[in-house]
Each structure stands twice: as C-alpha cells, then as structure tokens.
Assembly symmetry: C2
Homo-oligomer: 319 residues x 2
DNA sequence: TTGAAAGCGATACCAT
DNA sequence: ATGGTATCGCTTTCAA
C-alpha cells in the first residue's frame, strides 16, 4: 500500500505538498498539483485514515450501546442515528450488551483508548462509575451529569388517556414493563396514576420488571382477571399487539368493546394490520438530537441536562 | 492523556519495558513490573488504540453493509454478527445504504484507508468494481470472486412445498419479491417452478421487483384474483403476515381453508401470534459462518466460494 | 533483562 | 509556494 511518502517521491515534491493537495489546503502551484495528482493516480494512493486518526487524536466514530439491535424500536433508532452521524462525518460502531454487563464495561474503554469519540447510551446496567466527564448522551435514562434525550412521555401519555376517556371508556387500564433504572419511560405509568387521581378512573394495571418476550403471557393473565376493562393504554407496541391478539382470541371486538392505545409506534411500520392507535415517538427527531447534543459534548460545549422531543398522536383502528 | 512515554519516565524504565508489561510479552523483571504497574495506576494510563492500529496496520473493525438495520431479518443478523465478532476481538461498524449507493461506494473506501479490516456485504447495488481481491464476504448474493454464505434456499423451499402438498393442498401459490441482483434468495422461486413441473401443481404466483412496505397491497390484489388458492408459500415473513391478515379480513380460515408456509422465521420471535409455519433460517449459524469466512479471507487463507447453511422446518399454526 | 531508536502514515511549524 | 523535520502513541529490532 502506497503512503504519502511514496507519492511525494514519485511526484518529486515534499510530503507537505502532497498533504496540501489531498486536503486542498494551503498554497500549491499548478505544476506541483498536476505532478502530485498524477502520482496519486499512478500509485492508486488512498490516504490512510489510521495515520490521520493518530495525528488528530480522534476516530470520527461514535459507539452505540444498546440492549439488542434485534428489537424494532432500537433498530429503528439505530437506523436514524447512523444516517445522521454519516451526514456529520461520523461512523457508528454497534455494541449489543444485553445480558453481558462485563462487555459493556470493557467497551466503555473505547473512549479513553480513542476508538470512539463518544457514546450514545441506551442500556440498563448500573455501575458506580462517574460518567459526568465523559462524552456520553443517553436516551430516556437518567445518569448524573449526562445529557438525556427523551420523548414527552408524561404529556403524551396523558393525552392518550384523556382520548380514551373522551371516547367513552370508563375502566381504563395500564399495562407495561417497569424500567430497572431511573428512566423517563416510567413517566408513562406516572401519567396513568395521575390520570386516575384526576378523573376517578379505577386503578387497574400491570407495571413490573419483566423481560422482552413475556408480553403475551402477561397480557393474557392480566386481561383474564380484569373483565371490566374497556380501555387499555399499553407502554409498548409489543404489549399492544399481545393484548389485541388476546382479545381477538376471546372474540372481543377491538375497538368496539375495548379500545387500545399504545406508546411507541414502531410496529405500525412493520405490520400493516391492525393499525394501532398510538403515541408515535419521533424517532428521527430523537436521533437527530442525540447526535447534535453528543457532538456538542465532544466539543466541550454546554448542553441541556434533558431535552423532550414531542411525539405525535396517531389515530388508527384500535381506538 | 498519559502516553506510554509518561509511564516509562515515571517508572524510570524504557518504553519497551512498559509495552512488555502491557502486552504481557517478553522478559520483565519483577522489580520493573511493579514499578510500571504503579506508574500506570498513578497516571490512570490506558494504551491508545489509535497508535496500536497505526503500527499494526489494522483496526480490528469489520464493516456491515446492510440495506437498512430497521428490518427484522437484518437487525437479527446484525445482532448475531456483533456478538460473534466481539468474541473474536473485532468491533462492528454499521452502514445502512438503502437508497444511497453513493454512500456505499464512498464507504467501501474504508478498506484501503484502514478503517475496517473487512466488510460483510448484504446489499443490492451493482457496480462494475472488482471485489475479488478485497476482504469481503456476502450474504445470499453472488459476486465474482467473493465468498457467499446463504441458507439452503432451494432444498428448504422444496421441503416446504411438499409439506403443503402432503397436507392436502391442490392449488399451491408462491408470493415473494424478486432480488434485483443475482442472489440465492431467488432459488425460493426456482424451487416453486420445479415443484410445479414435478407435481403438476398449477403455476400461480407473484414474483417481481418490489419495495419493502408494499407487501399488504400486493398480497391483497393477488389473493383477490386467485380464489382457487388453498396453499401459499411466501418468500418472507412480512408477506406471510400480509396474506394471513388478508384472509382474516375475508373471514377465510387459516389453516383450514388455506395453509401458509413462510420462508424466514424472524417474525415469530417478535409477534407471538399467529405462530407461522416456517422455514426458519439459522441466523446464528449464518452469522458465525460469515465471520469465520471473512476472517479467513482477511488472513489470506483459502475459502469456499459458497456455503449453504441448513435451515429448520418449524410447524406452527398456519399449516 | 533492558532500552535506544526506527518506523507506521499523516500533519503542521517554520524556515527558505 | 515549498519541504525538512518533529510529532502523534505504539511496537519491535537489535545491540548491550
């Protein structure tokens, strides 16, 4: 592989001149320019990024720490993140860490080793580590001194709940998983609690630590023991789908007998029917903000501690 | 940030000795070892990977070129790829390139620039570029001189079709998208054609270039104009789901009136019901082989031109 | 056992 | 306008 020295030698100029040509920076005579370009062509030369990285002390790469890319919400956000980072001249390095906290700790080291310039942090584990000086930004999760981007979980949930009430539901239930760490997503339940207090709606809910994949089982047991439910607010699309299927099996019509509103909106892009009525998170906007704030942080600029991205309420066929 | 020189100076030894300690390589006296470790501790030193990369002329990073990570099959394969690469000491760099061939061409450059040591190539675009000398491996797709890993599309499809026949279907149809480039996935249709010839099953199919997201529309039109169908082999889970929903709307019972078998199996992990009867691709095995073969290639070792990974036939509720 | 020094590939200061 | 040279942080040869 040819290096900048080979090009310089062949062109009969110094490496500085070659560097100037490559980066279109500084004064280069027409004559030198042509000689250098010819040499580059001839040697099929490509500047080595590793050398640049070392000199520049950055890698133009961002790490994405995610529980698993194999989940529709996470893969969607990853998609937009990669797009947005590419536009800003960065690459995205993917790290799935669900079920492997050691891996996460080990790879957090990619910041001091220079392999990544910063990290977008979307995972659950908790350590006693000080993140506040690191170039990190989180989605949904609260970590001391680390900026957090999140949807307007509370307001959007309230809106969804009042919509169900307006549509005539008298016994609105909540079903959703609880986050293991302090997270904005828990405000979906908080909104439900407040809604019950405000309106006198009976408090009927499932809200606990759980694993992905258990939705159907939980939904079934919950629905079986709560025949009075006529409105359902689910904290995720996967739960909404599980509930919808459960009612379908029982021959209970949705939305006539029971109305369902879900928080998320990613399943609608994947599965054409049923079109769920959802609080749709603006995944593209969230990704854009995560990137914007992280790059500010890398640049040692001031950032907000937390930022709320407005979601959309989309009426589908389930409520 | 402390460098190896700072450590050497503080410990009162040469950089060589520090390097030996870090990499546990070569002879180091007990005394020197302790001094170095103490200095490392004191300076909170972490070896810089950028320097290592430059010296070693590799980045221990593999690029994954994928149409979009936001598709259940691709995100699943990405999950397993990252896992497997991590075990081998590599990182995964993600590139979504659907709708952006220029991006793909530009980033292919990460090989000569040293940003990635190799590429796992799962996209559709076609250029007149010679890939045969590059450290690349593909999933499903044929490119001259590039190793290809794929499922046993033909045999598995045949098996699925004969299963439908055995279950009593007389009018078995095929529905699926056609790949724009030479790809093993097209053998799903080839198997159907051969099946019709072998058994005298009438040839009823949709097989054309299409976009993700059009499944429902296509399925509906196809089913509307082919009332005779009593068995359906779909080339993807998203199609199977679209067909299932269409029959559901029409009040036609699956699997009693129409049986559906799908190729893929990723939707079953996401959505609990219906449990589709599927040819389930061994995504974990595929990922393992992609990594194994790519690393061989990077190492300039001989590899097979193509490798078939056996899939599993899983009986669910739709056939 | 140890360390000085060269070298990986690129950039940039500074003199010319 | 141009190029010699030092430098980024690390590994490795080779001589001591």
């Amino acid at each position: 592989m040819a290096s900048i020295h080979d090009v310089a030698k062949l062109a009969g100029v110094g490496t500085t001149t070659v560097s100037r040509v490559i980066n279109k920076k500084g004064y280069v005579s027409q004559e030198a320019l042509e000689k250098v370009n010819k040499a580059i062509e001839e040697l099929n030369y490509t500047p080595n990024q590793l050398g640049k990285n070392l000199k520049a002390k950055n890698s133009k790469t961002i790490g994405l720490f995610i529980p698993t890319i194999s989940h529709p919400f996470f893969s969607r956000i990853a998609h937009f993140l990669e797009d947005e980072l590419y536009k800003k001249g960065y690459r995205l390095l993917l790290v799935n860490s669900q079920g492997n906290p050691e891996k996460e700790i080990k790879l957090l080291n990619m910041i001091p080793t220079g392999q990544v310039d910063g990290i977008i942090y979307i995972t659950y584990y908790q350590y006693q580590m000080d993140f506040s000086k690191l170039p990190i930004v989180t989605l949904d999760r609260h970590i001391d001194g680390v900026p957090c981007i999140t949807s307007d979980n509370y307001e959007a949930s309230k809106k969804a709940l009042y919509y169900l009430k307006k549509e005539g539901c008298k016994n609105i239930a909540f079903i959703g998983g609880k986050a293991a760490t302090p997270s904005e997503t828990n405000k979906r339940f908080l909104a439900y609690e407040d809604f019950c207090k405000e309106t006198g709606n009976p408090s009927i809910y499932y809200y606990d630590l759980m694993l992905h994949g258990e939705e159907k089982m939980i939904a079934k047991a919950f629905i079986d023991s709560h025949k009075e439910i006529d409105g359902l607010f689910t904290a995720s699309d996967l739960f909404a789908n599980a509930c919808y299927q459960t009612y379908l099996e029982k021959g209970i019509n949705v939305p006539e007998k029971v109305k369902i509103v879900s928080f998320d909106g990613v399943l609608n892009d994947l599965i054409p029917e049923p079109k769920f009525t959802v609080v749709k998170q603006r995944v593209d906007e969230i990704a854009r903000e995560l990137v914007r704030v992280l790059l500010l942080r890398i640049d040692n600029k001031e950032t907000n501690q937390i930022e709320y991205i407005p979601s959309e309420f989309v009426i589908g066929e389930t409520a």
